[in-house]
Symmetry: C2
Subunit: 507 residues, 2 copies
């Protein structure tokens, strides 16, 4: 059986993938160690690679290789000589490659250039606007970005609405209708729960801090506790925490130290560990798959479900505090019991800031953004009315009013780069995580029992076996259905968050 067309395509993808991972390495370096004045040259290196990668991904050579591989594949199908797994995997790889290729190919190159410029401008103006609390300085750039991205959706001409089209790269196959089904129950339930909690006044926010070396030691202890393999995972500090994969056996995790928030670096480490663990469990660890789409993460929602599992279900659990609080005591924190640490890990105070939000109010931040970005793209919401609408929704859902736009609609970076359709992934991650955890507990028993006795490997193995290895063979909803036997539902998250708030109230 001749494999040549498939192999040639694989060779091509592999080289694209090598260049892509070089780009990621430069990004890692830029955010962890590069001296500030290296930025201009780094920008030129990254532009050069981006140009090179775009050429490779839209080249006639690639199209020809893809077509030949597809024809070869059809010969296999007709020959009836190959088993079903083989055919299913190849078929899905071709489908995804064609989808990605034509999505790139459909766009006018002039639009791509305009968008790149508008994103850079938008980001710069947003930084200024945020710093000076001047929304008007940013609004023309946002209008321009919305126009260009509407044009992008138009050129892609998919059988979807504009917002849906732009959300596809983050959540394949997601629709606004489905999103409403999932989010509507939260829109009712979360504010109710929030009121209960506020009435009971749990807001004893701690006032202590830890020095940088102590925080670094605690992060290392956490990763050691979770059996991190130093031969494949490196850590560093960066202005914003992230996890990134630089090769089949090269995973990186960062955290950041925030003054006055001694648990921030710790919880960011737990979060990024979850992202990295998902990438480690993808079928990409074999070189064979690293270059193929099937070996990639399926959606940002699934990615978030994995990071949130380790941050919220594990690190923020009472069982974890029981097993770990003495490390904080030794590091000099004013923590003298598991309860102390657990309460410090779970402040549950609604605020205006998404990134600092607790598990309960987090969802409300996302609902507001999701509504508003759909309104901006599809319902004619005027950019100039955005601050007013933002503040109105915060009052309605969280009972809070931003003092200014810096605390309000200027807080997040996403829209400044024209990134629409991403926000729901964060909340979908909470839902997916909750539902997957119920299945996990059916198999393994209560995870708190495993966490208490540090049987972390059991958790990792279950996630590897049941969740990670599917890659892009299933989309997020198909994955949930396959693992849990049920459609994705917001109920598991609601049950989880009710129980958690009750426990916190009753402690």
């Amino acid at each position: 059986m001749s494999e040549s067309a498939w192999q040639l395509l694989g060779d091509y993808l592999r080289e694209t993938c090598l260049f892509g991972s070089i780009q990621s390495t430069l990004y890692w370096d830029q955010n962890t160690v590069m001296p500030s004045q290296g930025a201009a040259w780094r920008g030129e290196q990254l532009s050069l690679l981006a140009k090179h990668l775009h050429e490779r991904k839209t080249s006639n050579q690639f199209q020809t290789l893809l077509q030949a591989a597809k024809e070869e594949f059809l010969v296999h199908v007709n020959s009836n000589k190959c088993d079903n797994d083989f055919l299913r995997d190849r078929s899905r790889n071709i489908e995804l490659l064609e989808q990605d290729f034509y999505r790139q190919k459909k766009l006018d190159s002039s639009l791509v250039v305009q968008l790149a410029k508008a994103k850079a401008e938008g980001y710069n103006l947003w930084q200024q606007a945020k710093l000076t609390n001047d929304f008007n300085c940013f609004s023309p750039a946002l209008k321009k970005l919305i126009g260009l991205r509407q044009e992008e959706a138009n050129q892609l001409s998919e059988d979807r609405s504009c917002w849906e089209t732009l959300a596809q790269p983050f959540e394949p196959d997601l629709s606004v209708k489905r999103l409403n089904q999932l989010f509507t129950p939260l829109r009712e339930k979360l504010p109710e729960l929030l009121k209960e909690l506020v009435t009971l006044k749990t807001d004893e926010k701690s006032e202590w801090d830890l020095d940088i070396p102590s925080q670094e030691i605690l992060c290392e202890q956490l990763l050691d506790n979770w059996k991190r393999n130093k031969n494949i995972i490196a850590t560093a500090r960066s202005p914003h925490p992230f996890s990134i994969t630089l090769g089949p056996n090269d995973f990186r995790i960062t955290t950041r130290i925030v003054k006055g928030q001694p648990l921030s670096s710790f919880l960011a480490t737990a979060h990024e560990w979850g992202h990295s663990l998902y990438e480690q469990g993808l079928p990409s660890t074999a070189h064979q798959w690293f270059a193929w789409p099937l070996g990639q993460a399926t959606s940002m929602g699934v990615h978030e479900s994995q990071s949130l599992f380790w941050e919220n279900k594990v690190a923020r659990s009472f069982a974890f505090s029981k097993s770990f609080w003495t490390n904080f005591q030794k590091a000099g924190a004013p923590i003298s019991s598991a309860v102390d640490l657990w309460k410090a890990m779970n402040p549950m105070i609604p605020g205006l800031n998404r990134v600092e939000a607790d598990e309960l109010s987090y969802g409300l931040h996302i609902l507001i953004r999701t509504d508003l970005e759909i309104a901006l793209l599809e319902q004619g919401l005027d950019v100039d009315d955005l601050p007013f609408e933002w503040n109105k929704k915060y009052k309605e859902l969280l009972g809070l009013s931003p003092q200014n736009d810096t605390q309000g609609c200027l807080q997040d970076v996403h829209w400044s780069e024209g990134m629409f359709g991403y926000f729901p992934s964060y909340l979908l991650g909470h839902l997916i995580s909750a539902q997957l955890t119920v299945s996990m507990e059916k198999d393994l028993g209560p995870i708190e029992d495993l966490i208490k006795t540090n049987q972390i490997v059991e958790l990792i193995e279950w996630l590897r076996k049941n969740v990670h290895h599917y890659g892009r063979s299933l989309n997020a909803e198909e994955l949930v259905k396959t693992v849990t036997g049920e459609e994705l539902s917001p109920n598991y998250f609601i049950e989880y968050i009710i129980k958690k708030t009750q426990n916190l109230i009753n402690i």
Copy 2:
């Protein structure tokens, strides 16, 4: 005046340079933070870039651009409209570009591939051989490498001997005849001085150590003391210390911690600082020049002269110990006076190891290697006789005999990768450093006076103004002549080392 051909060539060089600096960034990452199992994929990334860079550096497009720029330049010359500096710089750039281009172009691509393979094999076998003290396991690979590099010199067919041809990339225009003139006086004088020192028995090698955080703090204090600009210089740890330039304003320095050698990381930092300072002072800081050969370092000898200046003339000076010893005391070292630190910095104990050698015996290690590599390449020395010849020379010049080949001819990595012609640069660096320092002191007065009062900026400014900015416009010897008004001579180094040993004896 149309500049198009020159600008097109510049654009091409700039893109080559961007790819080259990407390669360097991957190298930096590999040696500072990459987890060990990332090595295989990193190897593939580097091979891909190396292939891409080789293609760019030998392409017909490059040749055409170079030719057009040269023709355009000749029009300028004939027009008599441009000033001499302009013409001299352009002429030199063209000369260097053509030289580098035809050096690459003359080689058969099959030889290039064979060499790359033989280097990788040689390096692996050398590692094994060194570990197991088995020279025979490495000798066939060394024979092969010598044959291939002789063939390389043959294909380059320069008007030079084989060893000279291979030494050109490190020391442009160097000849064996000139090397003998410079090194012969050292061959006589250094062993004499060594005997005096050994008779006087100064070998009170210290037995203390410092923990890793303390060593890191001392290295940071050193760099702060020397006015390091954190916005352009980043530091890290790596298995072997190095300095590397990743962009016009992006410089990196590493050091390493060696157990039982508490000053190793500190002196390595001083050494790498000197390399980096030279790169920072090159005319490369303007983007315009970064891509052009004139903006590059002129030779490894000059590079070493700069690192050795900061390591030996500054950090190992008595004045420096006076100003810095309390930092060591505070770090917990058993140092209670400037003399204590100064003696610890200057052990002057002849040994079998080049890397650990003091300033006096260092040159002898180099003489031995230089003799032997010329003998291997040009005088028919059989590889199988190398261990015997090595040991004989150590007995003659240092009065010491290695116990085995691991301590002897297997100690250095250079030959395992077929790198011949590099070793003399280390000793040339000592000579150049000594001679430049005499000129510096004519201008600034005794540098010990400046070091004592921490007027480091004076030293930096003098080096920038008098040494660094020439780049490749002058070769090493021309540079020395320009700066000092005299031909390069070994006498300055001999005077310096006599004075230093006397001071150490008399303390």
